[in-house]
Symmetry: C2
Subunit: 162 residues, 2 copies
DNA sequence: CCATATGATTGAAAAAGTCAATCATATTTT
DNA sequence: AAAATATGATTGACTTTTTCAATCATATGG
């Protein structure tokens, strides 16, 4: 039985969790990059989702809206590939955004099977607001890093994400 | 209409996706840290899950097993907190690991409601093998980064993940 | 002792992910 | 050109993951 401290709650300090979980910060798992990545994204997208709820959006629908507004005229197939989602999930996401008048499905003259997702004027306005919220959320999640560190992180992630 | 190239398949190059999705790499979304984090973890845990399938494990169960083997005697509550999972999910994960004889639920003398998850001898052996596989998977996912860059990434992530 | 809080468990419901089948249209083969 | 094959979007079924509320046993604070 390794050192069962009788006083225990007194060691708590950080605002993360209220318990004695800090003990687990020293484990092998806690320093695996893959684990840290998973945790970072869980915290980050959790917060973003909470904040985006105000606009009735989630990270998913925000991503689609963002790409629709990118000027790259993505097709649903491309959205599926890029977001690593099943085409059927894209259908559902676009359905929602279309229903609320944020995007439209445009015919692609070069391939009539394909549908290009374009933003409406309202969609662009929605995106502007969402973008601000996401930036806020991100700022909060990355609070511990300065600008240069964020740049470094972005570059490292980009290299493993593509 | 922005430059609709009639020849199109000729521009493809990278081994990532087979389509014209590269076009979307230049979007705002593609450079958001939160998006990159999500994508990195999706790729990473996808690969790890595939490779762990050989041991009938997933990243989830591997994480629990790893913490069980950490020497920190985590309770289910602590596992839930640390892994950001609902307590009921921990029950299911521990059930599975217990059923295959990899871990046991030990009574905590200091709190009889609490159950400490401890590895069996077989559990430790399983963890050893799983660890090697996860390391391989991680190595593959982080192939683009050298050791120093991996260290940097680990530190940056640690600061936003805790 | 009583009231309240917490850890584990169960079960139900919602959301997300996976797959196969279908229709329309492209592309390739012969 | 006709036939065969492949692809984009869509639907529906099905599985897995998430999320929540309720319950029981035990702790903890008055």
């Amino acid at each position: 039985m390794p050192a069962p401290t009788t006083a225990e709650a007194t060691t708590s300090s950080q605002p993360t969790a209220g318990n004695g979980v800090e003990r687990l910060y020293t484990t092998d798992l806690a320093s695996e990059i893959e684990f840290l990545t998973a945790r970072a994204r869980s915290l980050g997208s959790g917060r973003a989702n909470n904040m985006l709820a105000e606009l009735d959006l989630k990270v998913r629908s925000y991503s689609v809206l963002s790409l629709a507004c990118s000027g790259q005229n993505p097709s649903q197939r491309e959205l599926a590939d890029f977001l690593s989602l099943d085409p059927s999930q894209i259908v559902a996401l676009v359905d929602q955004l279309e229903k609320r008048g944020a995007v439209t499905r445009e015919a692609d003259p070069r391939d009539r099977r394909s549908k290009v997702i374009a933003p409406t004027a309202a969609g662009r306005r929605l995106y502007k607001r969402a973008e601000a919220i996401v930036r806020q959320a991100s700022d909060h999640s990355l609070a511990q890093l300065n600008d240069q560190e964020r740049e470094t992180l972005r570059d490292l992630l980009r290299r493993i994400a593509f």
